[in-house]
């Protein structure tokens, strides 16, 4: 990675990396080590006394039913978000790939939700599903279905999933479409000459050929659902009703800033950190040797 032809100068490169390294150390490395350190402490809410307790915070977490439930809920949430947004993006991309005229128009109209902040996406969906005023509860009433996500935990979860998946369709669509357009036309044509129908061609040719993209998107969607959906949950349900939508990131925030349980919040941060590291490693291993099938 070093250029064959390069400079050798003693102080300039240090000055060049200094800003990046300074910010990394002050705002990333130091707080992260602090989080690890605090996760071994129990501190009272006034910060008057602290006690070093080794892994007690972690032990507590893994026996705490609320935390374990939140863990399972987060996994369910991520799986649902990834499945809904990836499958709808795959369908749309599969059809968009067939279009010759107007393809860019379709693309433009499908990608712009990417630019909308998660909290805004949440606000739009919570407005559409407002139990007294919203448009969807109004229509659902005709079918005798009573919608109130302020009271019904599974409805709240469904709403958060829909809002999160909706926002992510654009991203998945873009990557799927790019992957499909990169497939040589001759392969598809050969399939057509052999008499394979468009659906058959999709499942036996296109889908296997874009499997690296599917894998890549799985990781990206998992990271998105785990860490970037805080705004959606915060705007739509605030973790409620009765913790029904408290995903892990929301719980870290809530326990730390609202509950002021510093040790417990730090321990949760450390667990999340381990998960991010794990996902990043998977993502980068993929980069080196693409998935083969």
């Amino acid at each position: 990675m070093l250029k064959r032809v390069h400079f050798t100068k003693s102080w300039l490169p240090f000055a060049l990396v200094a800003p990046q390294i300074a910010i990394t150390l002050i705002f990333f490395i130091w707080p992260a080590t602090q989080a690890v350190y605090q996760s071994f402490l129990i501190e009272d809410a006034f910060g008057l006394s602290t006690e070093f307790v080794w892994f007690e915070n972690f032990q507590y977490l893994f026996t705490d039913e609320i935390y374990l439930n939140s863990f399972g809920r987060t996994i369910f949430f991520s799986a649902a978000v990834a499945f809904i947004s990836m499958s709808s993006a795959l369908i749309l991309a599969g059809f968009a790939d067939r279009v010759i005229r107007g393809a860019t128009v379709y693309r433009t109209l499908l990608i712009w939700p990417y630019a909308i902040a998660p909290v805004l996406a949440g606000a739009l969906w919570v407005f559409m599903f407002n139990p007294t005023l919203g448009i969807f509860p109004y229509f659902l009433e005709f079918f005798g279905y009573d919608w109130n996500h302020y009271l019904n935990g599974s409805q709240a979860m469904l709403l958060v999933i829909l809002a999160a998946a909706w926002k992510q369709i654009a991203y998945n669509f873009l990557f799927y479409l790019a992957a499909m357009q990169a497939i040589p036309r001759s392969i598809i044509e050969a399939g057509a000459i052999d008499g394979a129908s468009p659906i058959r061609r999709f499942w036996t040719l296109v889908f296997p050929l874009i499997s690296p993209t599917t894998f890549f998107l799985l990781v990206i969607n998992a990271v998105y659902a785990f860490f970037e959906t805080f705004g959606i949950v915060h705007a739509v349900t605030q973790g409620g009703p009765a913790n029904a939508t408290t995903i892990l990131v929301y719980k870290v925030y809530n326990d730390g800033f609202v509950g002021l349980d510093l040790g417990g919040s730090a321990a949760q941060s450390v667990i999340l950190m381990i998960m991010v590291i794990f996902m990043t490693i998977i993502q980068f291993r993929y980069l080196e040797k693409k998935v083969q099938y």
Partner: protein, 283 residues
């Protein structure tokens, strides 16, 4: 297309249009809500077609006190804050990443790989997993409620550094050799050759980072308590809370619309750059 199937062609367009309708529906409803007056927005069923109060709501939201009965800054002020934060984050990230990628690719110096890995680690530490300690650091540095506090802690960027490293590695060695023969010093080489050659990458990255910066939510939520420093994306949540007492959905949805226009405009106007940036930084 490899064969002529008229029915499939119609189905294709129908499904795509259906997809667009689904994707656009929430935005349409938001837009419609922003064009009616307060009274209309309180009776179910809510309208599905736009009304005639758009400009009234627009001026009321942008320059008026915004939501009655809540203590929020005027919306133009929040738009200004968001713009400042987004610009500082995106430009800051680009500058420091360009410099560090230049150092790592073009210089031989002690701890070069150490620095590289240190930058790499930031990828694994999103703000969500180190909320409290980072907040403490910023508080101790006295950066709460300031543009510096909003932007500086977010401008370290592993992805941008990697991207520029990749770009620099594709630039032929002969460039540097000939620059040297002409007597160019390192910084001269950087400004006169590297920068112009990575112009499109910088533009592509800017689009992505602008959206990233504009849409920040958790971080501004933590470090701004002063209403004058509220960003527009943050304000939506406060308005939703206020809406539980006195719902003024026309104003709230107008604010939401104003909050999404700048990043959506950037995506649509610079679509080519956006796609390039997205596929290059994430892969």
């Amino acid at each position: 297309m490899v064969e002529n199937r008229p029915i499939l062609k119609i189905v294709t367009h129908l499904i795509l249009i259906f997809g667009i309708v689904i994707v656009a529906l929430p935005i349409w409803i938001t837009f419609v809500a922003s064009t009616h007056d307060e009274a209309r927005m309180l009776q179910a069923p809510l309208p599905l077609l736009p009304g005639g109060h758009f400009f009234e709501n627009f001026t009321k939201t942008l320059f008026g006190s915004g939501l009655a009965g809540s203590e929020v800054a005027p919306v133009w002020r929040m738009l200004l804050n968001s713009m400042a934060m987004a610009m500082m984050i995106s430009i800051g990230k680009i500058i420091i990443s360009l410099l560090s990628a230049f150092a790592i690719v073009y210089f031989k110096f002690p701890f070069r790989m150490g620095f590289f890995w240190l930058i790499f680690i930031t990828l694994m530490l999103p703000v969500e997993v180190r909320i409290l300690p980072t907040f403490e650091v910023v508080a101790n540095l006295g950066m709460l409620n300031s543009y510096w506090g909003l932007s500086i802690p977010l401008i370290a960027s592993a992805t941008a550094t990697f991207m520029f490293r990749q770009v620099f590695l594709t630039i032929p060695d002969e460039m540097l050799e000939s620059a040297r023969i002409d007597g160019a010093k390192p910084m001269r080489f950087f400004f006169d050759i590297l920068l112009p050659l990575s112009r499109t990458n910088i533009a592509a990255l800017f689009v992505i980072l602008f959206i990233y910066g504009w849409n920040q939510y958790l971080w501004p939520l933590l470090i701004t308590t002063d209403t004058d420093m509220t960003t527009i994306v943050m304000s939506i949540k406060q308005m939703l809370e206020a809406a539980e007492q006195s719902p003024q959905w026309n104003i709230i949805m107008m604010t939401a619309l104003l909050a999404m226009i700048p990043p959506v405009f950037v995506v649509i106007a610079m679509q080519k750059m956006f796609v390039k940036g997205l596929t290059e930084t994430d892969k």
